[in-house]
Symmetry: C2
Amino acid sequence: MLVLSSPSGAGKTTLTRTLLEQENIDYPGKLALSVSATTRAKRPSEIEGIHYFFKTKRQFEVMRDSGELLEWAEVHGNFYGTPREPVEKALAEGRDVLFDIDWQGTRQLLDKMRDDVVTVFVLPPSAQELKSRLVRRAEDSDAVIAQRLRNAAEEFQHWNEYDYILVNRDLDKSFARLRAILIAERLKRVKMPNLNVFVDKLLTELKGLTP
Amino acid sequence: MLVLSSPSGAGKTTLTRTLLEQENIDYPGKLALSVSATTRAKRPSEIEGIHYFFKTKRQFEVMRDSGELLEWAEVHGNFYGTPREPVEKALAEGRDVLFDIDWQGTRQLLDKMRDDVVTVFVLPPSAQELKSRLVRRAEDSDAVIAQRLRNAAEEFQHWNEYDYILVNRDLDKSFARLRAILIAERLKRVKMPNLNVFVDKLLTELKGLTP
């Protein structure tokens, strides 16, 4: 499980989408995206089930209270949460799962399964650039942008709870770095459970070749 | 410090050389190679001070006994060791250092500085391929090749002491993976000591932008 967190506007969503697309070209089906449920209003560019599962507050509370969420958090008045079933299904199929969640959700995931979670925090190159990206996106009202900036200050406090830090100055470079993290994590010995079978075979073959 | 280990013929030396060349194009001076001292005979293609510092057994013992070596090991009758001074100098200059050493040397490095050492074990795709590469290299006698194969069996026993495992089926792919490990390791929060200054600045700027 690979978690990306950052305040809105740091580029996290673009990075997750690009990573998912590229990985699906190179290793079809290997990486799944966990689609969050949310009570916040749908933006014009967003599609139900692709970007979020849009829920009423009542629907969300039912999901949460019946244990259907792996983690959940309230962020500037809206609920966000991860439906449990698609994640467990993907993991059982041997797929990696990508999460675009905040520090509160990350903590809950880490509490539940520390050894299987890799976390990345995305930082903007500057506060001014963060604000410019929110304004350029032109999907939120001024009041929402102001709230997102105030919220960013809180999210930033938690950068030091993450394994990796990406300062997103340049999207191409940040994407290459994010891919490197995914590639490297897959090469960790502890994440290659069938390797001992391969090495045992190698040793047996080697004995056959040695006089 | 990035350590690569493997038996001769798995491709470790080619991988370290390629990584060093490519890194020096992308980030001049960022990565240094630790050149080992050895008492084994120089191969025709090898250059003193580039591939090894070639020493007599007596010279090596003097270096070892006066604490000039960071680690040392005896492998099929020859001594190998890492001169301490060039490594400490490179680290003090903020450079990363690449090591091409065996499991015995790796253990000594880990004992001394666990938190600063990342270890990679390179496996050949098969025992037959390992033998073919040693034969193709045509630099060792049949007796030496036989000894290297016997030694490989011992080296392989230690694969599970390493952080990352590379199965070297294809040199280009393995090289890309090795680079991913290096890139990812540099993005680890604990390896970016000045990041808290950057985040503090970001937070101060952010407060200035928030109504």
